[in-house]
């Protein structure tokens, strides 16, 4: 048994019942017959991502035909070529969660809302058309007033359509853990409303075959009016209410203490969480796990304290005196670690600045090697042939002299995980195309940018967990604390209300600004 940690898929196999294992054995044996020659006696274990059976292991044991072996066998792992350490495990699980298939749950809400609104928009038109279709001959004709109503109806429907498109037809940006209360409320309202109108219509108009067409048109117009008012309500509840700032949220990242303050309006906890995350991606510097710990040289000295062993129980004063002396020495020794920390920090700063200087000079020099070819410049004469390059080739040409300096700088600032050579080349090509100076090119590497800069665009989205003691649909109030958790760090959000401002007034007459020289008068008495 070797000491490397193994990602073993055996666990799910061993928990299954014996009968299913039998089936699996037989199936694998069929498969293994063909590969017997290659895999017999092969004790190596290949680790694969879960979901795929460990074929080789099965194939070696498939021939034993022992039905009881599942209970008594211990897992035999030989030295394998592939082994995954703990970090790789977290990376694998992170990749898995990022690449989960598109959830249909994401689109249920908007689809429902779209259906409902389509239904609501079609209803007035249906109210108008149905009598014409069903009992046209017995309808009372109505002239000008109806035509006026038709026009107003048409325009109101157009306004409803356009505003629905403008406000509500947007792709949803987040899935919330609980129902979005206002949206549900509005959908229920619209549904009840339209349903009650249909009910009334069915009972009062369709049944007795109402002949007064003008009344029907007025009825449809009143429905459209009411829909416009519901849309106004939706606008106010969903879009306008939370615009006026009422609370100040303090967001602190748990791993390195980066914090920001935001002003939000009246929101529920889950909506506030979405709001905070929107701003997190563009305001907070990217989380760099390599920058977290004190340098090992300091920590290790702190860790190894003094250990006091009492070997002889009979010694009395001597041991206590000795231990006290040791504790005092340990206390004194601990005092030095902040000194070392200070010098280590200073040394690190110096090193970073040195590397940065080298990098800046290298990049400046590299940029002087190329220049843009203008349209009207004389194309190459045979005496001085010039090789014309496109941005990608130009970038590759000047990357070589600065590559080493760049790599060393990224290593020192522990950013090498965020920038691959390919990404640097792409960025260089981008900067050359847009006539940027070396300083503009370096801006990306000298300061750690917001998390948004390092995101790969994929439609899967990011998984965050909202941790809160209150139900997440309750409104924000003073003293509330909730946190947004990801795999390796979390954001802790504290809510405080904004202070009430008492604004007074003081009127200053512009004519009252007068000045005099300071006095030194002399009066004779």
């Amino acid at each position: 048994m070797d000491n490397e940690s193994q990602y073993s898929g055996y666990s799910y196999k061993s928990s299954h019942s014996r009968s299913s294992r039998k089936h699996r054995d037989r199936r694998d044996r069929h498969r293994s017959k063909s590969r017997d020659s290659s895999s017999r006696g092969d004790k190596s274990v290949t680790i694969q991502t879960p979901g795929e059976p460990l074929l080789d292991a099965e194939s070696t044991r498939g021939d034993d035909r022992d039905d009881n072996w599942g209970e008594t066998t211990t897992v035999v792992t030989g030295t394998s070529e592939h082994s995954i350490s703990n970090e790789d495990l977290t990376r694998v699980s992170k990749d898995l969660e990022e690449s989960t298939p598109l959830e249909c749950k994401r689109f249920v809400g908007p689809a429902l809302g779209g259906l409902l609104s389509f239904f609501a928009l079609v209803t007035p038109v249906a109210f108008l058309i149905l009598p014409q279709v069903l009992w046209r001959d017995i309808l009372e004709p109505c002239g000008t007033p109806c035509e006026g109503l038709y026009v107003s109806l048409a325009f109101k429907l157009l306004v409803l359509l356009i505003s629905s498109w403008a406000l509500f037809l947007r792709p949803p940006r987040a899935t919330l853990p609980r129902f979005f209360v206002f949206r549900c409320l509005l959908m229920v309202l619209v549904f009840l409303f339209v349903a009650s109108y249909w009910l009334f219509y069915g009972v009062r108009v369709l049944e007795p075959r109402e002949r007064d067409y003008r009344g029907i048109v007025e009825y449809a117009a009143s429905l459209v009016d009411a829909l416009l008012f519901i849309q106004y309500l939706a606008l106010v509840l969903l879009e306008v209410r939370h615009l006026q700032p009422a609370f100040c949220l303090k967001v602190v990242r748990s791993t390195d203490g980066a914090s920001k303050f935001y002003n939000v309006g009246h929101l529920s906890i889950q909506r506030a969480a979405v709001w905070v995350l929107d701003h997190y991606y563009s305001d907070f510097p990217v989380y760099n796990p390599a920058l977290l710990n004190l340098p090992k040289s300091i920590l290790s000295k702190k860790m190894t304290g003094f250990k006091v062993y009492s070997l002889d129980e009979n010694t009395t004063n001597n041991s206590t005196g000795q231990s006290r002396a040791m504790i005092a020495a340990a206390a004194r020794r601990r005092d030095n670690s902040h000194n070392e920390f200070y010098y280590e920090e200073a040394e690190m700063d110096r090193r970073i600045r040195k590397r940065k200087a080298r990098l800046v000079v290298a990049v400046e020099e590299a940029f002087t090697h190329i220049k843009r070819l203008h349209e009207d410049e004389v194309t190459s004469s045979p005496k001085h042939p010039r090789e014309v390059m496109d941005p990608r080739e130009a970038a590759q040409a000047i990357f070589a002299p600065m590559a080493r300096a760049m790599q060393k700088y990224l290593r020192t600032t522990r950013q090498q995980a965020f920038h691959s050579m390919e990404s640097i080349l792409t960025h260089l090509q981008f900067c050359i195309t847009h006539n940027m100076t070396p300083k503009a090119f370096l801006e990306r590497y000298l300061t750690p940018g917001p998390t948004m800069q390092y995101q790969q665009q994929n439609g899967r989205g990011r998984q965050w967990t909202l941790v809160s003691e209150e139900p997440v649909t309750s409104a924000l109030r003073q003293g509330l604390v909730f946190s947004l958790r990801r795999l390796d760090f979390s954001l802790v959000v504290t809510v405080t209300p904004l202070p009430f401002l008492r604004l007074g007034e003081e009127f200053i007459d512009p004519k009252s600004h007068k000045f005099v020289m300071r006095l030194q008068s002399e009066t004779s008495v």
Binding site: R518, L519, Q520, E522, T523, S524, V525
Partner: protein, 128 residues
């Protein structure tokens, strides 16, 4: 001679009594004053401490009532007829000195030389 806020002001003072002289329509005393809490104390040539906003005698007409009474240029006026002069505006000081119904003003004035004289006299007769 300047004051420390909250502490009582102590000074060696001389009592001077000046008889007002009728000159035409006015009663004059024959000297000029400068200073006051509304004035700029940095321009006072006679004060030792340039934050002192007291009333100082800036000029004495020779042969006038003040000169006769013994007032000297540079004196700081501490009281006039019992009224305090260390914390007054320039105008109030002028009014106190030029009251028409008073014919005599009794001033308490202080100057640097007074303190030195007292010190010297104390040294001369140490046991008293």
């Amino acid at each position: 001679m300047s004051f420390v806020p909250g502490q009582p002001v102590t000074a060696v003072v001389q009592r001077i009594e000046i008889q007002k002289l009728q000159q035409g329509d006015n009663l004059i005393l024959g000297f000029s004053i400068g200073g006051g809490i509304d004035q700029d104390p940095g321009q006072n040539p006679f004060s030792e401490d340039k934050t002192d906003k007291g009333i100082y005698v800036t000029r004495i007409t020779p042969g006038g009532p003040a000169d006769v009474a013994g007032l000297m240029m540079g004196d700081k006026i501490m009281q006039v007829n019992g009224w305090d002069m260390t914390m007054v505006t320039h105008d109030r000081a002028r009014k106190r000195l030029t009251k028409k119904n008073e014919g005599v003003v009794r001033l308490l004035v202080t100057r640097k030389s007074l303190e030195e004289v007292v010190k010297q006299s104390m040294n001369k007769y140490p046991r008293q």
